[in-house]
């Protein structure tokens, strides 16, 4: 299989480079969102454990899912870069995680 080159794709701007990468490797966008989600969630969770001795898992999960939704929304501003499937998945994830966070008994925090 031969890959399309940057010159063939006429990738002259940063947005076109991103579109070129996502067209040639469809896993690029979900991997980007997944890594971003994992970094934000694990970073904030272990930061809480280090500073307070106790981590709020659902709080960090909600923050990470909302940040992923914002990132996917910003990526969707560029035409043809991200399928709306990923924006909708991150939107559902943020609603579910915020719903779990808000309906918990939070007497321990």
């Amino acid at each position: 299989m031969t890959y399309q080159t940057l010159a063939e794709a006429n990738a002259t701007t940063l947005a076109k480079v991103f579109i070129y990468v996502s067209n040639n490797s469809p896993l690029f966008i979900p991997a980007l969102l997944g890594f971003f989600f994992g970094i934000v969630m694990l970073g904030s969770y272990f930061s809480q454990i280090r500073t307070r001795g106790q981590g709020d898992f659902w709080g960090c999960f909600a923050v990470a899912s909302f940040c992923s939704f914002v990132l996917s929304l910003v990526l969707s501003w560029i035409p043809n870069l991200i399928p709306i499937y990923y924006v909708i998945v991150t939107l559902i994830l943020s609603f579910v995680s915020v719903g779990i966070l808000l309906t918990q008994n939070r007497d321990n925090f």
């Binding site: 939704f69 929304l73 969707s76 501003w77 560029i78 035409p79 709306i84 499937y85 924006v87 909708i88 998945v89 939107l91 559902i92 943020s94 609603f95 579910v96 915020v98 719903g99 808000l102 309906t103 918990q104 008994n105």
Partner: protein, 143 residues
């Protein structure tokens, strides 16, 4: 263990969060990428319209109550009116928000992710039974 108070307050806050998220999404997409198919997604549009109409009706109701209770020369007062109207308003807000968001999540999960309708129906049934039991516990023990 979740109690009825947390569920109602969390449901209302979740509705406000969903309304704010969808508003930001529509405004930013209209400004930056008006041809996006997210703007024409029927499930999102339906939910946003439902949340908006619930909030608008609550705002009009509150404005009317404020006018009747404070601005009139002879304010209309009724026995228990404040308590009953507050409870009814909060319950309407909770049910409107909760049903809108639940329908959005199940619609999108079925259409976009491909989750079978049987699973969402079972989940909806469990949630309904849970809310009925929580309402019963609120009536019996006040929690």
């Amino acid at each position: 263990m979740v109690d009825m108070k947390s569920l109602v307050i969390g449901g209302i806050l979740l509705g406000l969060f969903a309304f704010a998220s969808l508003s930001v999404m529509y405004i930013s997409l209209t400004d930056n990428n008006p041809n996006s198919t997210l703007l024409t997604e029927s499930a999102l549009n339906k939910t946003f319209y439902s949340l908006n109409s619930t909030l608008m009706s609550q705002r009009n109701q509150s404005a009317n109550q404020y006018q009747n209770g404070t601005l009139m020369d002879n304010p209309e007062t009724s026995f228990g009116g404040l308590v009953m109207k507050s409870v009814v308003g909060a319950t309407n807000l909770f049910t409107g928000f909760f049903s809108s968001i639940f329908i959005l999540i199940t619609d999108l999960a079925e259409k976009e992710i491909g989750i079978p309708p049987l699973i969402t129906t079972v989940f909806f049934t469990i949630l309904t039974v849970l809310i009925i039991f929580l309402g019963w516990r609120l009536y019996r023990s006040g929690q």
